[in-house]
Amino acid sequence: MGFAVDTRRLGRWALNAVACIAMAYLLVPLVSVTWLAFWSQEIPTFPPEGYTFAWFGAALAQPKFVGGFLTSLQVGIAATALGVALGVPAALALARRGFPGRGALNQFLLMPLVVPGVVLGTAIYVFQVEAEIATEWPILGSVPGLIAGHALIVIPWVVRLIGASLAGFDRSIEEAALNLGAGPWTAFFRITLPSIRPGIVAGALFGFVTSFGNLEMSLFLIAPGMTTLPIAILQYLEWRLDPTIAAVSVMQIALIAAAMLVTDRYVKLARVV
Protein backbone atom coordinates (compact mmCIF):
# COMPACT_ATOMS: atom_id res chain seq x y z
CA MET A 1 0.00 0.00 0.00
CA GLY A 2 2.67 2.43 1.10
CA PHE A 3 4.73 1.33 -1.82
CA ALA A 4 1.88 2.04 -4.26
CA VAL A 5 1.37 5.56 -2.90
CA ASP A 6 5.10 6.23 -3.14
CA THR A 7 5.20 5.04 -6.73
CA ARG A 8 2.34 7.32 -7.64
CA ARG A 9 3.93 10.29 -5.92
CA LEU A 10 7.23 9.49 -7.59
CA GLY A 11 5.50 9.29 -10.96
CA ARG A 12 3.87 12.69 -10.50
CA TRP A 13 7.15 14.16 -9.36
CA ALA A 14 8.95 12.78 -12.41
CA LEU A 15 6.27 14.15 -14.71
CA ASN A 16 6.60 17.61 -13.17
CA ALA A 17 10.36 17.44 -13.51
CA VAL A 18 10.15 16.54 -17.21
CA ALA A 19 7.66 19.37 -17.78
CA CYS A 20 10.06 21.81 -16.08
CA ILE A 21 12.98 20.62 -18.19
CA ALA A 22 10.92 21.06 -21.35
CA MET A 23 9.87 24.55 -20.32
CA ALA A 24 13.46 25.48 -19.49
CA TYR A 25 14.60 24.10 -22.82
CA LEU A 26 12.12 26.40 -24.58
CA LEU A 27 12.86 29.43 -22.44
CA VAL A 28 16.66 29.36 -22.07
CA PRO A 29 17.43 30.79 -25.54
CA LEU A 30 14.80 33.51 -25.12
CA VAL A 31 16.02 34.46 -21.67
CA SER A 32 19.71 34.41 -22.58
CA VAL A 33 19.32 36.49 -25.73
CA THR A 34 17.29 39.02 -23.76
CA TRP A 35 19.92 39.11 -21.03
CA LEU A 36 22.70 39.45 -23.57
CA ALA A 37 21.05 42.45 -25.19
CA PHE A 38 21.73 44.49 -22.07
CA TRP A 39 25.40 43.53 -21.48
CA SER A 40 27.70 46.47 -21.69
CA GLN A 41 30.82 44.82 -23.16
CA GLU A 42 31.17 44.47 -26.90
CA ILE A 43 32.51 40.91 -26.94
CA PRO A 44 30.01 38.79 -25.01
CA THR A 45 32.02 36.98 -22.34
CA PHE A 46 30.67 35.70 -19.06
CA PRO A 47 30.19 37.24 -16.54
CA PRO A 48 28.73 40.55 -17.82
CA GLU A 49 30.75 43.60 -16.83
CA GLY A 50 27.73 45.90 -16.60
CA TYR A 51 24.42 46.75 -18.23
CA THR A 52 23.33 49.26 -20.90
CA PHE A 53 20.51 50.16 -23.30
CA ALA A 54 23.04 51.31 -25.87
CA TRP A 55 22.72 48.29 -28.17
CA PHE A 56 19.08 49.08 -28.90
CA GLY A 57 20.12 52.51 -30.09
CA ALA A 58 22.89 50.97 -32.15
CA ALA A 59 20.44 48.57 -33.78
CA LEU A 60 17.99 51.32 -34.68
CA ALA A 61 20.85 53.40 -36.09
CA GLN A 62 21.65 50.67 -38.63
CA PRO A 63 19.74 51.42 -41.86
CA LYS A 64 20.03 47.75 -42.83
CA PHE A 65 18.07 46.64 -39.80
CA VAL A 66 15.40 49.32 -40.16
CA GLY A 67 15.08 48.77 -43.91
CA GLY A 68 15.07 45.00 -43.46
CA PHE A 69 12.43 45.26 -40.79
CA LEU A 70 10.19 47.36 -43.03
CA THR A 71 10.65 44.97 -45.95
CA SER A 72 9.90 41.96 -43.75
CA LEU A 73 6.83 43.68 -42.37
CA GLN A 74 5.58 44.62 -45.81
CA VAL A 75 6.23 41.17 -47.26
CA GLY A 76 4.79 39.45 -44.19
CA ILE A 77 1.55 41.42 -44.29
CA ALA A 78 1.08 41.07 -48.04
CA ALA A 79 1.97 37.37 -48.03
CA THR A 80 -0.46 36.79 -45.15
CA ALA A 81 -3.25 38.60 -47.00
CA LEU A 82 -2.57 36.54 -50.13
CA GLY A 83 -2.28 33.33 -48.12
CA VAL A 84 -5.60 33.95 -46.35
CA ALA A 85 -7.36 34.86 -49.60
CA LEU A 86 -6.22 31.56 -51.11
CA GLY A 87 -6.28 29.47 -47.97
CA VAL A 88 -9.90 30.15 -46.92
CA PRO A 89 -11.46 28.77 -50.11
CA ALA A 90 -8.97 25.88 -50.06
CA ALA A 91 -9.85 25.01 -46.46
CA LEU A 92 -13.57 25.24 -47.23
CA ALA A 93 -13.23 22.97 -50.26
CA LEU A 94 -11.19 20.45 -48.27
CA ALA A 95 -13.60 20.43 -45.35
CA ARG A 96 -16.84 20.51 -47.28
CA ARG A 97 -16.50 18.77 -50.60
CA GLY A 98 -15.83 15.15 -51.21
CA PHE A 99 -13.69 14.82 -54.31
CA PRO A 100 -11.14 12.29 -55.51
CA GLY A 101 -7.65 13.02 -54.16
CA ARG A 102 -8.91 15.14 -51.29
CA GLY A 103 -6.69 13.43 -48.74
CA ALA A 104 -3.67 13.75 -51.02
CA LEU A 105 -4.38 17.43 -51.64
CA ASN A 106 -4.73 18.00 -47.91
CA GLN A 107 -1.27 16.52 -47.35
CA PHE A 108 0.12 18.37 -50.33
CA LEU A 109 -0.97 21.74 -48.92
CA LEU A 110 1.10 21.01 -45.83
CA MET A 111 4.22 20.30 -47.84
CA PRO A 112 5.74 23.78 -47.56
CA LEU A 113 6.01 23.21 -43.81
CA VAL A 114 7.70 19.86 -44.25
CA VAL A 115 10.04 20.46 -47.18
CA PRO A 116 13.41 21.88 -46.04
CA GLY A 117 13.54 25.65 -46.58
CA VAL A 118 16.61 25.45 -48.83
CA VAL A 119 14.91 22.93 -51.10
CA LEU A 120 11.78 25.05 -51.26
CA GLY A 121 13.86 28.17 -51.90
CA THR A 122 15.78 26.50 -54.71
CA ALA A 123 12.59 25.21 -56.30
CA ILE A 124 10.92 28.60 -56.24
CA TYR A 125 14.08 30.29 -57.46
CA VAL A 126 14.26 28.00 -60.48
CA PHE A 127 10.53 28.42 -61.11
CA GLN A 128 10.77 32.20 -60.98
CA VAL A 129 13.74 32.22 -63.31
CA GLU A 130 11.82 30.11 -65.81
CA ALA A 131 8.69 32.21 -65.35
CA GLU A 132 10.66 35.39 -65.92
CA ILE A 133 12.17 34.02 -69.12
CA ALA A 134 8.78 32.85 -70.36
CA THR A 135 6.81 35.98 -69.53
CA GLU A 136 9.59 38.59 -69.64
CA TRP A 137 8.12 40.11 -66.48
CA PRO A 138 10.62 41.14 -63.82
CA ILE A 139 9.64 38.49 -61.28
CA LEU A 140 12.88 37.40 -59.68
CA GLY A 141 14.17 39.79 -57.06
CA SER A 142 10.96 41.82 -57.04
CA VAL A 143 8.89 42.42 -53.93
CA PRO A 144 5.81 40.78 -55.52
CA GLY A 145 7.98 37.75 -56.31
CA LEU A 146 9.09 37.55 -52.69
CA ILE A 147 5.50 37.95 -51.48
CA ALA A 148 4.30 35.17 -53.78
CA GLY A 149 7.00 32.88 -52.38
CA HIS A 150 6.17 33.70 -48.79
CA ALA A 151 2.44 33.17 -49.38
CA LEU A 152 3.38 29.54 -49.96
CA ILE A 153 4.51 29.12 -46.35
CA VAL A 154 1.50 31.05 -45.05
CA ILE A 155 -1.08 28.84 -46.78
CA PRO A 156 -0.43 25.63 -44.77
CA TRP A 157 -1.09 27.47 -41.51
CA VAL A 158 -4.24 29.10 -42.79
CA VAL A 159 -5.60 25.88 -44.28
CA ARG A 160 -4.81 23.82 -41.21
CA LEU A 161 -6.19 26.23 -38.64
CA ILE A 162 -9.33 27.11 -40.59
CA GLY A 163 -9.82 23.40 -41.19
CA ALA A 164 -9.77 22.92 -37.41
CA SER A 165 -12.36 25.68 -37.01
CA LEU A 166 -14.56 24.16 -39.70
CA ALA A 167 -14.37 20.71 -38.17
CA GLY A 168 -16.28 22.02 -35.15
CA PHE A 169 -18.73 24.02 -37.25
CA ASP A 170 -22.30 22.74 -37.33
CA ARG A 171 -23.51 23.05 -40.90
CA SER A 172 -27.10 23.36 -39.79
CA ILE A 173 -26.13 26.88 -38.70
CA GLU A 174 -25.65 27.73 -42.35
CA GLU A 175 -28.86 25.97 -43.24
CA ALA A 176 -30.65 28.01 -40.58
CA ALA A 177 -29.45 31.17 -42.32
CA LEU A 178 -30.68 29.91 -45.70
CA ASN A 179 -34.00 28.92 -44.14
CA LEU A 180 -34.39 32.41 -42.71
CA GLY A 181 -34.08 33.92 -46.16
CA ALA A 182 -30.36 34.53 -46.65
CA GLY A 183 -28.89 33.64 -50.03
CA PRO A 184 -25.70 31.55 -50.09
CA TRP A 185 -23.37 34.57 -50.25
CA THR A 186 -25.10 36.40 -47.44
CA ALA A 187 -25.09 33.24 -45.34
CA PHE A 188 -21.37 32.81 -45.98
CA PHE A 189 -20.33 36.36 -45.15
CA ARG A 190 -22.72 36.95 -42.25
CA ILE A 191 -22.72 33.53 -40.62
CA THR A 192 -19.97 31.15 -41.79
CA LEU A 193 -17.10 33.61 -41.99
CA PRO A 194 -17.62 35.11 -38.51
CA SER A 195 -17.91 31.60 -37.09
CA ILE A 196 -14.52 30.53 -38.46
CA ARG A 197 -12.89 33.87 -37.65
CA PRO A 198 -10.77 32.42 -34.81
CA GLY A 199 -9.20 30.00 -37.28
CA ILE A 200 -8.57 32.74 -39.82
CA VAL A 201 -6.99 35.06 -37.25
CA ALA A 202 -4.82 32.30 -35.78
CA GLY A 203 -3.81 31.09 -39.26
CA ALA A 204 -2.95 34.63 -40.32
CA LEU A 205 -0.90 35.23 -37.17
CA PHE A 206 1.14 32.05 -37.47
CA GLY A 207 1.50 32.59 -41.20
CA PHE A 208 2.77 36.12 -40.61
CA VAL A 209 5.27 34.98 -37.97
CA THR A 210 6.54 32.25 -40.30
CA SER A 211 6.96 34.71 -43.15
CA PHE A 212 8.53 37.37 -40.95
CA GLY A 213 11.18 35.00 -39.66
CA ASN A 214 11.85 33.22 -42.92
CA LEU A 215 15.46 33.24 -44.02
CA GLU A 216 16.07 30.41 -46.48
CA MET A 217 13.50 31.28 -49.11
CA SER A 218 14.22 34.99 -48.93
CA LEU A 219 17.93 34.33 -49.51
CA PHE A 220 17.08 32.91 -52.93
CA LEU A 221 14.50 35.44 -53.94
CA ILE A 222 15.86 38.86 -53.00
CA ALA A 223 17.63 41.11 -55.44
CA PRO A 224 21.05 42.59 -54.63
CA GLY A 225 20.61 45.56 -52.33
CA MET A 226 17.26 44.35 -51.03
CA THR A 227 17.17 42.87 -47.58
CA THR A 228 14.76 41.40 -45.06
CA LEU A 229 15.33 41.49 -41.33
CA PRO A 230 16.56 37.86 -40.98
CA ILE A 231 18.97 38.45 -43.88
CA ALA A 232 20.20 41.69 -42.34
CA ILE A 233 20.88 39.81 -39.10
CA LEU A 234 22.77 37.08 -40.94
CA GLN A 235 24.86 39.59 -42.87
CA TYR A 236 25.71 41.49 -39.72
CA LEU A 237 26.76 38.29 -37.98
CA GLU A 238 29.25 37.51 -40.74
CA TRP A 239 31.39 40.44 -39.67
CA ARG A 240 30.62 41.15 -36.06
CA LEU A 241 29.41 39.53 -32.92
CA ASP A 242 28.15 42.10 -30.45
CA PRO A 243 24.93 42.51 -28.46
CA THR A 244 23.35 44.61 -31.25
CA ILE A 245 22.11 41.33 -32.70
CA ALA A 246 20.67 40.39 -29.35
CA ALA A 247 18.92 43.76 -29.17
CA VAL A 248 17.41 43.23 -32.64
CA SER A 249 16.25 39.77 -31.60
CA VAL A 250 14.66 41.09 -28.42
CA MET A 251 12.73 43.69 -30.40
CA GLN A 252 11.59 40.97 -32.79
CA ILE A 253 10.50 38.70 -29.94
CA ALA A 254 8.67 41.60 -28.29
CA LEU A 255 6.85 42.44 -31.52
CA ILE A 256 5.67 38.87 -32.07
CA ALA A 257 4.71 38.43 -28.43
CA ALA A 258 2.71 41.65 -28.58
CA ALA A 259 0.97 40.49 -31.74
CA MET A 260 0.03 37.21 -30.04
CA LEU A 261 -1.20 38.90 -26.88
CA VAL A 262 -3.32 41.40 -28.79
CA THR A 263 -4.75 38.63 -30.97
CA ASP A 264 -5.46 36.50 -27.94
CA ARG A 265 -7.60 39.26 -26.49
CA TYR A 266 -9.99 38.92 -29.42
CA VAL A 267 -9.59 35.28 -30.32
CA LYS A 268 -8.62 32.62 -27.81
CA LEU A 269 -5.71 31.06 -29.65
CA ALA A 270 -5.60 28.10 -27.30
CA ARG A 271 -9.06 27.11 -28.53
CA VAL A 272 -7.94 26.88 -32.13
CA VAL A 273 -4.34 25.75 -32.10
Binding site: E175, A176, A177, L178, N179, L180, G181, A182
Partner: protein, 356 residues
Protein backbone atom coordinates in the same frame (compact mmCIF):
# COMPACT_ATOMS: atom_id res chain seq x y z
CA UNK B 1 -50.07 30.14 -42.53
CA UNK B 2 -51.06 28.00 -45.39
CA UNK B 3 -52.01 24.60 -46.57
CA UNK B 4 -49.15 22.28 -47.46
CA UNK B 5 -49.52 19.70 -50.19
CA UNK B 6 -47.01 17.02 -51.00
CA UNK B 7 -47.64 14.92 -54.07
CA UNK B 8 -45.81 11.65 -54.84
CA UNK B 9 -42.58 12.96 -53.39
CA UNK B 10 -39.58 10.69 -53.91
CA UNK B 11 -35.87 10.85 -53.24
CA UNK B 12 -33.25 8.52 -54.63
CA UNK B 13 -29.64 8.48 -53.48
CA UNK B 14 -28.02 6.36 -56.17
CA UNK B 15 -29.85 3.05 -55.85
CA UNK B 16 -31.16 3.83 -52.38
CA UNK B 17 -34.75 4.98 -52.27
CA UNK B 18 -34.81 7.25 -49.22
CA UNK B 19 -38.37 8.45 -49.81
CA UNK B 20 -40.90 6.67 -52.03
CA UNK B 21 -44.04 8.32 -53.40
CA UNK B 22 -45.04 10.19 -50.27
CA UNK B 23 -48.26 12.16 -50.60
CA UNK B 24 -49.58 14.30 -47.78
CA UNK B 25 -52.19 16.99 -47.53
CA UNK B 26 -51.76 19.15 -44.47
CA UNK B 27 -54.59 21.53 -43.66
CA UNK B 28 -54.09 25.15 -42.68
CA UNK B 29 -53.25 25.22 -38.98
CA UNK B 30 -52.82 21.45 -38.67
CA UNK B 31 -50.05 19.84 -36.59
CA UNK B 32 -48.78 16.84 -38.48
CA UNK B 33 -46.12 14.54 -37.09
CA UNK B 34 -43.90 12.30 -39.21
CA UNK B 35 -43.09 9.34 -37.02
CA UNK B 36 -40.76 6.47 -37.75
CA UNK B 37 -37.52 4.77 -36.82
CA UNK B 38 -34.23 6.35 -37.93
CA UNK B 39 -33.62 5.95 -41.63
CA UNK B 40 -37.33 5.80 -42.49
CA UNK B 41 -37.17 8.92 -44.67
CA UNK B 42 -38.99 11.31 -42.35
CA UNK B 43 -36.11 13.79 -42.06
CA UNK B 44 -35.42 13.63 -45.79
CA UNK B 45 -39.10 14.46 -46.37
CA UNK B 46 -38.87 17.43 -44.02
CA UNK B 47 -35.66 18.63 -45.67
CA UNK B 48 -37.35 18.44 -49.05
CA UNK B 49 -40.14 20.67 -47.72
CA UNK B 50 -37.52 23.14 -46.42
CA UNK B 51 -35.66 22.97 -49.73
CA UNK B 52 -32.36 21.46 -48.56
CA UNK B 53 -32.89 18.23 -50.46
CA UNK B 54 -33.90 18.25 -54.11
CA UNK B 55 -36.66 15.71 -54.76
CA UNK B 56 -36.11 13.07 -57.43
CA UNK B 57 -39.81 13.27 -58.23
CA UNK B 58 -43.07 14.73 -57.06
CA UNK B 59 -44.16 18.21 -56.06
CA UNK B 60 -44.53 20.41 -52.98
CA UNK B 61 -47.05 23.22 -52.78
CA UNK B 62 -47.28 25.77 -49.97
CA UNK B 63 -50.55 27.68 -50.21
CA UNK B 64 -50.98 28.47 -53.91
CA UNK B 65 -47.28 28.33 -54.74
CA UNK B 66 -45.44 25.38 -56.20
CA UNK B 67 -42.15 25.54 -54.26
CA UNK B 68 -40.64 22.31 -55.62
CA UNK B 69 -37.95 24.18 -57.57
CA UNK B 70 -37.47 27.11 -55.21
CA UNK B 71 -34.26 27.37 -53.12
CA UNK B 72 -34.64 27.32 -49.30
CA UNK B 73 -34.29 31.09 -48.97
CA UNK B 74 -37.26 31.72 -51.25
CA UNK B 75 -39.66 29.43 -49.38
CA UNK B 76 -41.30 30.94 -46.37
CA UNK B 77 -40.74 28.03 -43.98
CA UNK B 78 -39.50 28.29 -40.41
CA UNK B 79 -37.23 25.38 -39.53
CA UNK B 80 -36.23 24.45 -36.00
CA UNK B 81 -33.20 22.19 -35.89
CA UNK B 82 -32.37 19.36 -33.55
CA UNK B 83 -29.03 21.04 -32.75
CA UNK B 84 -30.72 24.46 -32.28
CA UNK B 85 -28.36 25.90 -34.92
CA UNK B 86 -28.23 29.33 -33.32
CA UNK B 87 -25.69 31.77 -34.72
CA UNK B 88 -22.98 31.61 -32.05
CA UNK B 89 -21.53 35.07 -32.66
CA UNK B 90 -24.88 36.90 -32.51
CA UNK B 91 -26.94 37.74 -29.44
CA UNK B 92 -30.33 36.17 -28.87
CA UNK B 93 -32.08 39.29 -30.20
CA UNK B 94 -29.79 39.42 -33.25
CA UNK B 95 -30.50 35.74 -33.91
CA UNK B 96 -34.22 36.40 -33.91
CA UNK B 97 -33.81 39.57 -35.99
CA UNK B 98 -31.78 37.82 -38.71
CA UNK B 99 -34.75 36.50 -40.67
CA UNK B 100 -36.46 39.87 -40.49
CA UNK B 101 -33.36 41.65 -41.81
CA UNK B 102 -33.22 39.16 -44.68
CA UNK B 103 -36.84 40.04 -45.44
CA UNK B 104 -35.94 43.73 -45.53
CA UNK B 105 -38.28 44.52 -42.67
CA UNK B 106 -37.79 48.16 -41.67
CA UNK B 107 -35.39 48.85 -38.82
CA UNK B 108 -38.18 50.33 -36.71
CA UNK B 109 -40.38 47.28 -37.13
CA UNK B 110 -37.68 44.73 -36.33
CA UNK B 111 -37.26 45.55 -32.64
CA UNK B 112 -40.94 45.15 -31.69
CA UNK B 113 -41.23 41.93 -33.69
CA UNK B 114 -38.12 40.50 -32.05
CA UNK B 115 -39.47 41.46 -28.64
CA UNK B 116 -42.82 39.88 -29.46
CA UNK B 117 -41.23 36.62 -30.62
CA UNK B 118 -39.03 36.43 -27.52
CA UNK B 119 -41.98 37.17 -25.28
CA UNK B 120 -43.90 34.30 -26.86
CA UNK B 121 -41.20 31.89 -25.69
CA UNK B 122 -40.84 33.70 -22.35
CA UNK B 123 -37.28 34.87 -23.02
CA UNK B 124 -37.92 38.60 -23.35
CA UNK B 125 -35.33 39.34 -20.69
CA UNK B 126 -32.45 37.45 -22.34
CA UNK B 127 -32.21 39.30 -25.66
CA UNK B 128 -28.68 40.57 -25.04
CA UNK B 129 -27.18 37.20 -24.10
CA UNK B 130 -25.09 35.09 -26.42
CA UNK B 131 -26.45 31.61 -27.21
CA UNK B 132 -23.66 29.86 -25.30
CA UNK B 133 -24.78 31.64 -22.12
CA UNK B 134 -28.16 29.92 -22.26
CA UNK B 135 -29.30 26.46 -21.18
CA UNK B 136 -30.33 23.87 -23.77
CA UNK B 137 -34.03 24.49 -23.20
CA UNK B 138 -33.57 28.24 -23.55
CA UNK B 139 -31.53 27.79 -26.71
CA UNK B 140 -34.24 25.67 -28.26
CA UNK B 141 -36.83 28.31 -27.37
CA UNK B 142 -34.68 30.98 -29.05
CA UNK B 143 -34.54 28.77 -32.14
CA UNK B 144 -38.33 28.56 -32.00
CA UNK B 145 -38.68 32.33 -31.59
CA UNK B 146 -36.34 32.85 -34.54
CA UNK B 147 -38.49 30.60 -36.70
CA UNK B 148 -41.74 32.22 -35.53
CA UNK B 149 -40.51 35.80 -35.98
CA UNK B 150 -40.53 35.51 -39.76
CA UNK B 151 -44.21 34.48 -39.63
CA UNK B 152 -43.60 31.38 -41.72
CA UNK B 153 -46.24 29.76 -43.91
CA UNK B 154 -45.19 26.41 -42.51
CA UNK B 155 -43.34 25.63 -39.29
CA UNK B 156 -40.97 22.68 -39.61
CA UNK B 157 -39.60 20.94 -36.52
CA UNK B 158 -36.74 18.46 -36.95
CA UNK B 159 -36.58 16.35 -33.76
CA UNK B 160 -36.66 19.59 -31.80
CA UNK B 161 -36.71 17.98 -28.38
CA UNK B 162 -34.28 15.13 -28.64
CA UNK B 163 -31.33 17.06 -27.20
CA UNK B 164 -33.26 18.04 -24.07
CA UNK B 165 -33.60 16.04 -20.88
CA UNK B 166 -36.89 14.31 -20.15
CA UNK B 167 -38.48 16.92 -17.90
CA UNK B 168 -37.57 19.84 -20.13
CA UNK B 169 -38.71 17.93 -23.19
CA UNK B 170 -42.23 17.77 -21.86
CA UNK B 171 -42.22 21.45 -20.94
CA UNK B 172 -40.99 22.65 -24.34
CA UNK B 173 -43.33 20.20 -26.07
CA UNK B 174 -46.36 21.71 -24.38
CA UNK B 175 -45.07 25.18 -25.13
CA UNK B 176 -44.61 24.42 -28.83
CA UNK B 177 -48.09 22.93 -29.05
CA UNK B 178 -49.74 25.89 -27.32
CA UNK B 179 -47.97 28.45 -29.49
CA UNK B 180 -48.81 26.47 -32.60
CA UNK B 181 -52.51 26.49 -31.65
CA UNK B 182 -52.53 30.17 -30.73
CA UNK B 183 -50.88 31.22 -33.96
CA UNK B 184 -52.76 28.69 -36.07
CA UNK B 185 -49.49 27.55 -37.65
CA UNK B 186 -49.39 24.77 -40.19
CA UNK B 187 -46.73 22.54 -38.65
CA UNK B 188 -44.79 19.46 -39.62
CA UNK B 189 -42.68 17.79 -36.94
CA UNK B 190 -40.32 14.88 -37.33
CA UNK B 191 -39.68 12.54 -34.44
CA UNK B 192 -38.84 8.96 -33.63
CA UNK B 193 -40.40 9.27 -30.18
CA UNK B 194 -43.96 7.98 -30.27
CA UNK B 195 -44.97 9.49 -26.95
CA UNK B 196 -43.89 12.90 -28.20
CA UNK B 197 -45.75 12.33 -31.44
CA UNK B 198 -48.95 11.16 -29.77
CA UNK B 199 -49.15 14.09 -27.38
CA UNK B 200 -48.78 16.93 -29.88
CA UNK B 201 -50.16 15.74 -33.20
CA UNK B 202 -53.48 16.41 -34.85
CA UNK B 203 -52.60 13.62 -37.24
CA UNK B 204 -49.66 11.27 -37.48
CA UNK B 205 -47.86 9.82 -40.44
CA UNK B 206 -46.07 6.57 -39.70
CA UNK B 207 -43.16 5.98 -42.05
CA UNK B 208 -40.87 3.05 -42.59
CA UNK B 209 -38.26 2.37 -45.25
CA UNK B 210 -39.11 5.54 -47.14
CA UNK B 211 -42.81 4.82 -47.36
CA UNK B 212 -45.90 6.02 -45.59
CA UNK B 213 -47.39 3.07 -43.72
CA UNK B 214 -50.39 4.83 -42.25
CA UNK B 215 -51.83 8.31 -41.83
CA UNK B 216 -54.35 8.91 -39.08
CA UNK B 217 -55.23 10.24 -35.68
CA UNK B 218 -53.92 8.71 -32.48
CA UNK B 219 -57.15 6.72 -32.21
CA UNK B 220 -56.90 5.40 -35.79
CA UNK B 221 -53.37 4.17 -35.18
CA UNK B 222 -54.22 2.64 -31.84
CA UNK B 223 -57.43 0.90 -32.80
CA UNK B 224 -56.90 0.23 -36.47
CA UNK B 225 -53.17 -0.09 -37.19
CA UNK B 226 -52.73 -0.68 -40.89
CA UNK B 227 -50.08 -3.34 -40.60
CA UNK B 228 -47.84 -5.22 -38.28
CA UNK B 229 -45.19 -2.50 -38.39
CA UNK B 230 -47.59 0.20 -37.24
CA UNK B 231 -49.08 -2.08 -34.58
CA UNK B 232 -45.60 -2.62 -33.18
CA UNK B 233 -44.25 0.91 -33.58
CA UNK B 234 -47.16 2.99 -32.33
CA UNK B 235 -48.31 1.93 -28.91
CA UNK B 236 -47.30 -1.54 -27.84
CA UNK B 237 -48.37 -4.90 -29.12
CA UNK B 238 -47.63 -8.49 -28.36
CA UNK B 239 -47.58 -10.66 -31.40
CA UNK B 240 -48.78 -14.25 -31.54
CA UNK B 241 -47.48 -16.05 -34.62
CA UNK B 242 -49.75 -18.63 -36.22
CA UNK B 243 -52.37 -19.26 -38.91
CA UNK B 244 -55.67 -17.61 -39.65
CA UNK B 245 -58.19 -20.37 -40.31
CA UNK B 246 -60.93 -18.10 -41.64
CA UNK B 247 -64.35 -17.82 -40.00
CA UNK B 248 -62.90 -15.91 -37.03
CA UNK B 249 -60.51 -18.61 -35.91
CA UNK B 250 -56.76 -18.34 -35.34
CA UNK B 251 -54.36 -21.08 -34.31
CA UNK B 252 -51.09 -20.04 -32.70
CA UNK B 253 -47.73 -21.64 -33.38
CA UNK B 254 -48.09 -23.27 -29.97
CA UNK B 255 -51.41 -24.83 -30.99
CA UNK B 256 -53.81 -22.57 -29.07
CA UNK B 257 -57.16 -22.02 -30.80
CA UNK B 258 -58.21 -18.39 -30.50
CA UNK B 259 -61.20 -16.44 -31.66
CA UNK B 260 -60.79 -13.27 -33.65
CA UNK B 261 -62.99 -11.00 -35.75
CA UNK B 262 -64.58 -12.74 -38.74
CA UNK B 263 -63.27 -11.80 -42.15
CA UNK B 264 -59.60 -12.69 -42.22
CA UNK B 265 -58.48 -14.85 -45.10
CA UNK B 266 -56.90 -18.19 -44.22
CA UNK B 267 -53.12 -18.43 -44.23
CA UNK B 268 -50.01 -17.74 -42.17
CA UNK B 269 -50.68 -14.69 -40.03
CA UNK B 270 -49.89 -12.91 -36.81
CA UNK B 271 -52.25 -11.71 -34.09
CA UNK B 272 -51.42 -8.34 -32.48
CA UNK B 273 -52.73 -7.63 -29.01
CA UNK B 274 -52.57 -4.33 -27.11
CA UNK B 275 -51.41 -5.14 -23.53
CA UNK B 276 -54.05 -2.80 -22.10
CA UNK B 277 -56.83 -4.75 -23.78
CA UNK B 278 -55.89 -8.06 -22.21
CA UNK B 279 -57.60 -8.84 -18.89
CA UNK B 280 -56.06 -10.90 -16.11
CA UNK B 281 -57.58 -12.78 -13.22
CA UNK B 282 -57.19 -15.76 -10.93
CA UNK B 283 -60.23 -17.55 -12.35
CA UNK B 284 -61.71 -17.87 -15.89
CA UNK B 285 -62.89 -14.49 -17.07
CA UNK B 286 -65.73 -15.42 -19.39
CA UNK B 287 -64.27 -13.61 -22.42
CA UNK B 288 -64.14 -14.82 -26.05
CA UNK B 289 -60.59 -15.93 -25.48
CA UNK B 290 -59.89 -17.28 -22.03
CA UNK B 291 -56.64 -19.05 -21.32
CA UNK B 292 -54.67 -20.26 -18.33
CA UNK B 293 -51.04 -19.21 -18.12
CA UNK B 294 -48.01 -18.68 -15.91
CA UNK B 295 -46.55 -15.29 -15.01
CA UNK B 296 -42.99 -15.20 -16.33
CA UNK B 297 -41.91 -11.64 -15.71
CA UNK B 298 -43.24 -8.54 -13.94
CA UNK B 299 -42.13 -4.98 -14.73
CA UNK B 300 -43.15 -2.14 -12.47
CA UNK B 301 -43.73 1.00 -14.54
CA UNK B 302 -45.04 3.33 -11.88
CA UNK B 303 -48.78 3.58 -12.28
CA UNK B 304 -49.00 0.35 -14.24
CA UNK B 305 -47.59 -3.14 -14.12
CA UNK B 306 -46.52 -5.13 -17.13
CA UNK B 307 -46.81 -8.89 -16.83
CA UNK B 308 -45.51 -11.37 -19.35
CA UNK B 309 -47.68 -14.46 -19.26
CA UNK B 310 -46.69 -17.74 -20.83
CA UNK B 311 -49.62 -19.46 -22.55
CA UNK B 312 -47.74 -22.30 -24.19
CA UNK B 313 -44.17 -23.25 -24.99
CA UNK B 314 -44.05 -20.69 -27.80
CA UNK B 315 -46.87 -18.24 -27.01
CA UNK B 316 -46.60 -15.33 -24.60
CA UNK B 317 -48.74 -12.25 -24.10
CA UNK B 318 -48.03 -9.03 -22.25
CA UNK B 319 -50.76 -7.80 -19.95
CA UNK B 320 -50.91 -4.30 -18.57
CA UNK B 321 -52.70 -3.71 -15.29
CA UNK B 322 -53.10 -0.82 -12.88
CA UNK B 323 -50.63 -0.88 -10.03
CA UNK B 324 -53.00 -0.45 -7.08
CA UNK B 325 -52.21 -1.02 -3.45
CA UNK B 326 -55.30 -3.14 -2.87
CA UNK B 327 -55.21 -4.93 -6.20
CA UNK B 328 -53.59 -8.30 -6.63
CA UNK B 329 -50.11 -8.22 -8.05
CA UNK B 330 -49.28 -11.71 -9.22
CA UNK B 331 -45.74 -12.87 -8.57
CA UNK B 332 -43.50 -14.63 -11.04
CA UNK B 333 -44.60 -18.26 -11.33
CA UNK B 334 -48.22 -17.60 -10.36
CA UNK B 335 -50.95 -19.45 -12.28
CA UNK B 336 -53.35 -16.93 -13.80
CA UNK B 337 -56.07 -16.60 -16.41
CA UNK B 338 -55.85 -14.11 -19.26
CA UNK B 339 -58.60 -13.17 -21.64
CA UNK B 340 -59.60 -10.79 -24.39
CA UNK B 341 -62.55 -10.23 -26.65
CA UNK B 342 -62.46 -11.47 -30.22
CA UNK B 343 -62.18 -7.94 -31.65
CA UNK B 344 -59.16 -7.04 -29.48
CA UNK B 345 -56.85 -9.29 -31.45
CA UNK B 346 -55.96 -7.88 -34.86
CA UNK B 347 -54.89 -10.32 -37.54
CA UNK B 348 -52.19 -9.39 -40.06
CA UNK B 349 -51.58 -11.84 -42.84
CA UNK B 350 -48.05 -12.32 -44.13
CA UNK B 351 -48.49 -9.92 -47.04
CA UNK B 352 -48.51 -7.12 -44.46
CA UNK B 353 -52.06 -5.86 -44.86
CA UNK B 354 -54.57 -5.80 -42.03
CA UNK B 355 -57.31 -8.33 -42.53
CA UNK B 356 -59.51 -7.65 -39.55
Amino acid sequence: MARLEIASLSKLYGDFQAVREVSLDIADGEFLVLLGPSGCGKTTTLRMIAGFVTPSGGAIRIGDTDVTDLPPWKRNTGLVFQSYALFPHLTVAQNVAFGLEMRKVGRDDIAPRVAEALRMVRLGHLGERLPRQLSGGQQQRVALARALAIRPDVLLLDEPLSNLDAKLREEVRVEIRELQRQLGLTTVMVTHDQEEALTVADRLVVMSEGEVRQIGTQRDLDERPADRFVAGFVGRSTFLEGRAEGQGAFVTAGGLRLRCAVGSAAGPAVMALRPERVALGTAPLGLDNDLPGTVEFVSYLGAVLDLRVRLSDTDRVTVQMANRQDGMAPAVGARVHVGWSADAGRIFTQDAGAAA
